[in-house]
């Protein structure tokens, strides 16, 4: 799935005045990976994305993109393109001119430009929309055009800042699928910012869960779902159930958690990420009540 690190974030800090927006973040993002930054608003995910785009500087630490240090590279020289949360479709240009905006420096012929734009319109499933004005577009169409405008430059990395946040639920789910398919098709690295854990779990190869400027855990969706390292991560991923309890070991492989509400719950040792913790969390569907004991308990409680 992933080659060597394509984007390398090393000990990055960011201060706005005395407020620390990013707190010692380090992680690697592989080539061709669909990587999500997940967290509640204000957790620093957008700041981190804007650092990758070059709109914010790092206060400390460094970011390597394709092996190159990026500190002194301004946004217009970075091999990354971004899809903005507001889409930022230029209102004074039509769809084709919006998509072709970044091609000026390549000094292409009109025909070549048109060919590339048409190809992009095909890719985002809006063929024939080139002459439309920007104010004649729906939210979903704007979102696709913002994608096309970025992808036409064949960036090494595409940054997406909550691109689906402004869409209604049905359209959002459809766009999730299309986005994922598109990423497979073009094969470039996507860095995707979202506060919607379901969206992150559906789309991503790997997810970084962020809170308070820190990265809590970086893992695959399955990894995060099945083995969250902290309670905070667990509560952010899915509808988890929490029980307070104490881990009791009886014998070599038998472990049980003694809880208030459910009594002793046997659990296999490899599922326990932190044997010293005092919380048990499980996803819906992970626990099964065995018939005999349930009856027994029901009986006892009567």
């Amino acid at each position: 799935m992933t080659n060597a690190a394509f984007i390398s974030i090393r000990n990055v800090n960011k201060f706005f005045g005395s407020f620390q927006a990013i707190d010692n973040v380090s992680m690697d993002i592989g080539q061709g990976e669909f990587f999500s930054l997940l967290g509640a608003s204000g957790c620093g995910k957008t700041t981190l994305l804007r650092m990758l785009a070059g709109f914010e500087s790092t206060s400390d630490g460094e970011i390597l993109i394709d092996g190159q240090p990026s500190a002194d590279v301004p946004p217009h020289h970075r091999p990354v393109n971004m899809v903005f949360q507001s889409y930022a479709i230029f209102p004074h240009l039509n769809v084709a001119d919006n998509i072709a905006y970044g091609l000026r420096k390549q000094r292409l012929s009109k025909e070549k430009k048109k060919e590339m734009v048409d190809e992009m319109l095909e890719l985002i499933k809006l063929p024939g929309y080139g002459a439309r004005k920007a104010n004649e577009l729906s939210g979903g169409q704007r979102q696709r055009i913002a994608l096309a405008r970025a992808l036409i430059l064949r960036p090494k990395v595409l940054l997406l800042d909550e691109p689906l946040g402004a869409l209604d639920k049905q359209l959002r789910e459809q766009m999730q699928l299309e986005l994922r398919a598109l990423q497979r098709q073009v094969g470039i690295t996507f860095v995707f910012v979202t506060h919607d854990q379901e969206e992150a779990l559906t789309l991503s190869d790997r997810i970084a869960v962020m809170s308070g400027g820190k990265v809590l855990q970086v893992d695959t969706p399955e990894g995060l779902y099945e083995a969250p390292k902290t309670r905070e991560v667990a509560s952010f991923i899915g509808n988890m159930n929490f029980f307070q309890g104490t881990v009791r070991r009886n014998g070599s492989n038998e472990t049980a958690i003694e809880t208030q509400g459910l009594g002793n719950i046997p659990i296999s040792l490899d599922k326990v990420t932190k044997p010293a913790g005092d919380h048990l969390c499980f996803a819906p569907g992970e626990i099964r009540a065995s018939g005999r004991r349930a009856k027994e308990r029901a009986f006892r409680e009567r």
Partner: protein
């Protein structure tokens, strides 16, 4: 839901008292002004009722007067230069005010807007003193300088809402797509604020064209049109021509401001 509690109806309900107030307001504001074009077509030297007949001869007389044309060209020259310079400065100021975190931003805006409320006579006297101290002879240049001070607040006031209603991520998107600051300005910022720029040009031109007080203190030997009118007021027999000239200025100013209002809001309402 009853219409009483529906907020939409509450706001949109016609308000009789307010309508009457608006009509009185407009009458008080414009009826005195309407006497000017009325008497400019009166076939008599003296301004009094009843009207003695309709004529366009005062307009014809204006046409034949060289001094009017000279004054007109002076005013147009000053107006154009002032409009261009104050709009450029206003664009830069409005962009700086809306895009950067400036310390003391609100104080800065207040100072820029101050000439709107400071009496023109104060600025006029101050500039006159300054010019004579520095030994600068009074000319159309000094008039232009005075007009720049009065016009700049209009330029900023027209352009600020344009920049405020402008999503900063538009410029970021341009940078992200590979354009530097210069190209971003010409390909994104300028086209988006263009209606505001046109409105500002029209408003500042009109403002300079009509301005009297600054011109009164700072004019050398070349009069602007309002200065010419002022000069003619000494001669009673010239008064109908003055009225004719004033009517033309009123008309042109009204058209320019009307266009400026229309253009300036283009794309902001929807």
């Amino acid at each position: 839901m009853s219409s009483r509690t529906d907020p939409g109806t509450y706001i949109k309900r016609p308000n009789r008292a307010l309508q009457i107030y608006a009509v009185i307001f407009l009458i008080v504001l414009y009826v005195p002004v309407l006497f000017i074009p009325l008497f400019s077509i009166n076939d008599a030297i003296h301004v009094k009722f009843p009207i003695e007949g309709v004529t366009l001869r005062w307009y014809g007389e204006l046409w034949a007067r060289d001094a009017v044309w000279t004054a007109l060209f002076n005013s147009v020259k000053v107006g154009l230069v002032v409009a261009v310079i104050s709009t450029i400065l206003g664009t830069v100021a409005a962009r700086a005010i809306t895009r950067y975190r400036l310390p003391g931003k609100s104080a800065l805006v207040t100072f820029i807007m101050m000439p709107l409320v400071i009496p023109g006579i104060i600025f006029g006297v101050a500039l006159l003193v300054l010019m004579s101290r520095m030994g600068v002879p009074l000319s159309l240049y000094t008039v232009g300088l005075g007009h720049l001070i009065v016009c700049l607040p209009f330029a900023v006031a027209t352009l600020l809402p344009r920049f405020e209603g402008f999503d900063p991520s538009m410029e970021e998107a341009s940078a992200d797509l590979g354009e530097n600051g210069w190209w971003t300005f010409w390909r994104v910022t300028f086209p988006m604020v263009f209606p505001g720029v046109v409105a500002s040009l029209l408003l500042t031109f009109t403002n300079s064209f009509d301005e009297f007080i600054m011109a009164f203190f700072l004019t050398g030997t070349d009069p602007t049109l309002p200065m010419y009118i002022w000069g003619q007021l000494r001669f009673p027999q010239e008064f109908p021509s003055v009225l004719a000239l004033s009517s033309l200025i009123l008309f042109i100013s009204f058209i320019l401001v009307f266009i400026a209002q229309r253009v300036g809001r283009m794309g902001l309402d929807d």
